[in-house]
């Protein structure tokens, strides 16, 4: 796209396609965020733009950060891989004494009115850490021992994310990012296919076991969520409520949607719809075609990331981009799967669109990183 235009000025590539996809998602996200949150915000805080303003601040900050990072050569970061790991671990540990509790879970720090979620920082740090580790290990990655080592190294962080911030979804995403990065770095398929199939079979077995349990008295809340996913209409007053409400929203959108701003479900029926459930409101207001547009944008985003990864000047750059790509893809897939009740409810936000300052800040930082990798693609070779 920008290749020919830029020829005279620079011999390197700047991926305007990616930039515009991200900018479009951000703007679209802000419009939908306002539509979704204004009613609740007005009721709760007396200002319909309460969430919007906070999100715009984080987005602007994120865009600034993105442009700065896009101009820092990505190899600059490779020496910080250990520091990133340690910072992630320390931040997660600091949650225990200093964490701020919201909605039943302790996941945030509050610094001067800003909430920061260490799990989001951990994601970018793990991408960097894994990319560096894979490059350092070289051919050792290819054998089984190397594979196990690579999978084991992020485990402490993953466990901390899961246990300390009781955020299973972020833990799964970090694990998934690492898995995909290792998959890309290894030449073979066998063990990855076996693990994937085995993992899915194991999950299926657990679901069947939970579904077969005679009584749900005193059951762990995650098990209950599985039951609520299987039979949302039996758990209306309980964990199934959100799932069912999201289905009502999606279903009542129909093919053409109710029109922007016309959602009924956002009027408190889906609590905090601007967070993880924003996609259901998009479906309700913009219909199936709105949903297609969003999914298509994300496919384009992932496609651009693939193109950049494939053309990255070196393995480190490629792995960084693969990590970002895995991150984006996993969040999008899991979010839509949760919203459509395809998998049990677990809190996963939709990149660039869901409300959440830390998330958008670090997602933009990741894009900045990718843009810098893209800049290093020599045009002659591309």
């Amino acid at each position: 796209m920008g290749k020919n235009k830029k020829k005279g000025q620079s011999e390197y590539f700047f991926d305007y396609s990616l930039l515009f996809i991200v900018l479009f998602l951000l703007v679209f996200g802000l419009v939908m965020l306002y539509s979704t949150s204004s009613y609740e915000a007005a009721q709760k805080y007396g200002s319909s733009t309460f969430y919007l303003v906070k999100q715009i601040k984080a987005t602007v900050l994120g865009l600034v950060g993105m442009f700065i990072i896009a101009h820092i050569p990505y190899h600059f970061w490779e020496k910080f891989y250990g520091l990133g790991y340690i910072v992630s671990a320390v931040l997660l540990l600091l949650i225990i004494p200093f964490g701020y509790k919201s909605g039943g879970a302790k996941r945030w720090f509050r610094i001067g009115g800003l909430s920061i979620q260490p799990a989001e920082i951990a994601k970018i740090c793990m991408i960097l850490f894994c990319a560096v580790m894979i490059c350092k290990m070289g051919k050792k990655v290819r054998d089984f021992k190397g594979f196990l080592l690579l999978m084991a190294m992020p485990l402490p962080i993953v466990l901390m994310v899961w246990k300390i911030t009781s955020n299973l979804s972020s833990a799964i995403i970090i694990m998934g990012i690492v898995f995909i990065m290792v998959f890309v770095a290894s030449p073979d398929y066998k063990k990855f296919v076996v693990i994937t199939v085995g993992g899915l079979a194991g999950v299926a077995a657990i679901v069947v076991a939970i579904a077969g349990m005679a009584s749900n008295e005193g059951m762990h809340y995650r098990f209950k969520r599985v039951l609520a996913w299987l039979h949302p209409e039996d758990y209306v007053s309980d964990t199934g409520y959100q799932t069912l409400q999201a289905l009502y929203a999606i279903g009542s959108g129909g093919v053409w949607g109710k029109g922007l701003g016309q959602s009924m479900q956002k009027l408190g029926f889906i609590p905090e719809a601007q967070n993880d459930m924003i996609f259901s409101i998009i479906c309700e207001e913009l219909g199936l075609f709105g949903a297609i547009a969003i999914i298509a944008l994300f496919v384009m985003l992932i496609w651009r990331l693939m193109v950049i990864a494939n053309n990255a000047p070196d393995l480190f750059g490629a792995l960084l981009v693969v990590g970002v790509m895995a991150h984006m893809a996993l969040q999008v897939i899991l979010n839509i799967a949760v919203v459509t009740a395809t998998i049990p409810n677990t809190g996963i936000s939709l990149p660039f669109i869901s409300y959440g300052g830390t998330a958008v800040l670090f997602q933009l930082a990741e894009i900045g990183l990718v843009l810098n990798v893209a800049r290093k693609i020599p045009l002659k070779e591309a």
Partner: protein, 596 residues
């Protein structure tokens, strides 16, 4: 610096990752298509149910009008006051205003105002002026809905026939319950869209389904006759210190009931308030204590209310006594065991098997033909007629006359005839049945059977309901009622009319005689069980004109003090009634008749 180069397999794997992701997204998109196309209607319906709050609008209940179009049962606008918890802004003000305006205790109102519910009813049937006043305070969260309450402009007139309605305007007794489906109409609804907390969403507006008012029921009752008959009944009850008096006036040829009186009546505008009569009926309450002073249990009170609401003409049975001789005579004539000129001798008693049954005239009537025996209401003669027919013949006439079936009147709770089983009828039972004792029958059953005997053997269905009209006055339903013919032959019917006319003109019913009008009738005096209680029921059935009956009337005086003969106390009631209503109905013209 890490400078490993991107290998081909890396590129391949990145591409594989991309396509796996795309494949999963396509699958999820398929899921979305399923949810948003195939299941769209289902979820949309569910979501709409969730968003809409429904408030019902009561339909105006149809009126009940008499045969001249006078409204007997009407609707009055009243208000229902309710609160919507989420919309209340000034809770204390709301409680204070509702307290003072509705006169309810603060605790009661506070409990309802503070209750977390979408809408809470504080009080219904609030007077419209009070409702308007509360509305004028313009308090957030207080809703005043207009509503209808049944109103009976003539108070207790015909209360046991019309019945009354309950808290939801549903018919509880009488015509109100019988014609519920026609009267009630169809409730409308107001649908409002609300958010999760139940707050109305302003820009969605309301959708409204208007209620369909109930149809107006036109009945055959004539307010003038009903009110005159009620007056007569109260007079008789007070003069004779009787427990109750019932009067029925019916058109012989159609079965339309013009009046049905059961005094003491009750006030259908306050149906749950025990009347003084109901209270003094409690044994030991001669002092006339009020319901509160008596400390009645709920069940006691309900029993008293049920008793108060009973329509004795159709809900209760009694031993008819001599009025039943109309049936015995018709059966005897029809079967041929007796003719008007058959002669009998009455020594004052008759021996049936081992029993000696006395005539009311203990010295006996001596020799008499059947016409005079009827005029004298001579028991031994009727026993003889009954015995001559025998059990099987007599019983088959009961069936033929329709005595063993209900009349089918359009009022709820008609009681069935209590008759001996055919196999249990011996000579003694046959003898007592012949003059109207040892079995029980409703007044309406007896009246309808007597009417069919004098009406050329045509048995009509007694009824009130004539037609239903909508609010524009268009007839939406006309009722018709079955008529059974061939109850008795026209000849027998003509003979019966003649004999019964003689009863009034020369016999025991002389007190019902009116100069210039041909009136037929039969008196009765029956002792209530137990036989030695000294309590009687005096009754009289009369019809006019005797040669071609149009109107039949019945008066029953229960437990009169002093003089208790039907001929002495019930016959004059019917005479007074006829004197007034026959000219009114155009059956008798004073000027012409007084000359002839």
């Amino acid at each position: 610096m890490l400078v490993d180069y991107n290998k081909t397999f890396h590129r391949k794997k990145i591409t594989v990752t991309f396509f796996v992701c795309v494949a999963i997204l396509v699958f999820l998109f398929g899921r979305l298509v399923y949810l948003m196309v195939a299941k769209a209607d289902y979820y949309e319906k569910k979501a709409t149910e969730l968003h809409e709050r429904e408030r019902s609008i009561k339909a105006a209940r149809g009126k009940i009008l008499d045969c001249n179009g006078t409204v007997l049962a009407d609707n009055r606008t009243v208000c229902t006051v309710s609160v919507i918890h989420n919309q209340i802004e000034d809770k204390e003000k709301v409680i204070e205003v509702l307290c003072t305006e509705l006169g309810l205790s603060e605790d009661y109102i506070r409990k309802r105002v503070e209750k977390y519910s979408s809408i809470e009813r504080i009080k219904s049937n609030v007077d419209k002026t009070i409702g308007d006043r509360i509305r004028n305070y313009d308090l957030a969260g207080v809703k005043v809905d207009e509503d209808y309450k049944r109103y009976y402009p003539y108070g207790e007139l015909g209360s046991k026939v019309l019945g009354f309605t309950g808290g939801d305007n549903q018919g509880i007794i009488g015509l109100e319950v019988m014609y519920e489906d026609y009267l009630k109409g169809q409730e409308g609804t107001i649908l409002t869209v609300t958010d999760a907390k139940g707050i109305e969403v302003a820009d969605h507006g309301e959708s409204r389904i208007d209620p369909i008012p109930g149809g107006d029921l036109h009945i055959s009752m004539d307010l003038n006759i009903q009110s005159y008959a009620t007056q007569l009944a109260y007079q008789a009850m007070e003069n004779k210190e009787a427990d109750s008096v019932s009067i029925i006036v019916m058109k012989v040829k159609t079965g339309e009931i013009l009046a049905m009186v059961n005094v003491p009546e009750f006030d259908p505008n306050n149906p749950f308030e025990l009347t003084d009569y109901a209270l003094t009926s409690i044994s030991g309450n001669d002092a006339g204590l009020s319901a509160e002073e008596l400390n009645l249990t709920d069940k006691e009170k309900q029993d008293l209310l049920n008793n108060m609401w009973r329509n004795a003409c159709i809900n209760d049975t009694y031993e008819p006594g001599s009025t039943f001789k109309i049936i015995t005579a018709a059966a005897g004539l029809e079967s041929g065991v007796v003719t008007p000129s058959s002669t009998f001798s009455c020594p004052g008693f008759i021996v049936v098997e081992d029993r000696k049954i006395r005539c009311h005239k203990t010295t006996g009537h001596g020799s008499e033909d059947f016409v005079h025996a009827t005029m004298n209401s001579c028991n031994p003669v009727f026993i003889t007629v009954g015995l001559r027919m025998g059990r099987d013949v007599f019983y088959s006439y009961f069936e033929q006359f329709g005595l063993l079936k209900k009349t089918g009147i359009d009022l709820p709770g008609e009681a069935a005839t209590i008759m001996h089983k055919k196999d249990n009828i011996g000579a003694v039972e046959l003898a007592t049945v012949s003059f109207g004792q040892s079995f029980q029958i409703t007044p309406i059953e007896l009246l309808v059977t007597a009417a069919s005997i004098i009406n050329d053997g045509k048995r009509i269905t007694p009824h009130f309901g004539v037609k239903v009209t909508d609010t524009q006055g268009n007839v939406t339903k006309e009722f018709d009622y079955p008529v059974q013919t061939g109850i008795v032959s026209e000849e027998t019917s003509a003979v019966m009319r003649e004999i019964l006319e003689k009863v009034v003109s020369e016999g025991g019913g002389a007190k019902a005689y009116i100069e210039g009008v041909r009136i037929g009738g039969k008196t009765a005096t029956s002792q209530t069980l137990p036989r030695n209680s000294g309590k009687y029921i005096a009754s009289f059935i009369g019809f006019a004109p005797a040669n071609d009956p149009e109107i039949i009337a019945m008066a029953i005086i229960k437990h009169p003090q002093g003089m208790y003969y039907g001929g002495q106390i019930a016959a004059p009631v019917v005479r007074q009634l006829f004197e007034n209503i026959l000219p009114y109905l155009g059956i008798m013209d004073y000027n012409i008749n007084s000359v002839s």
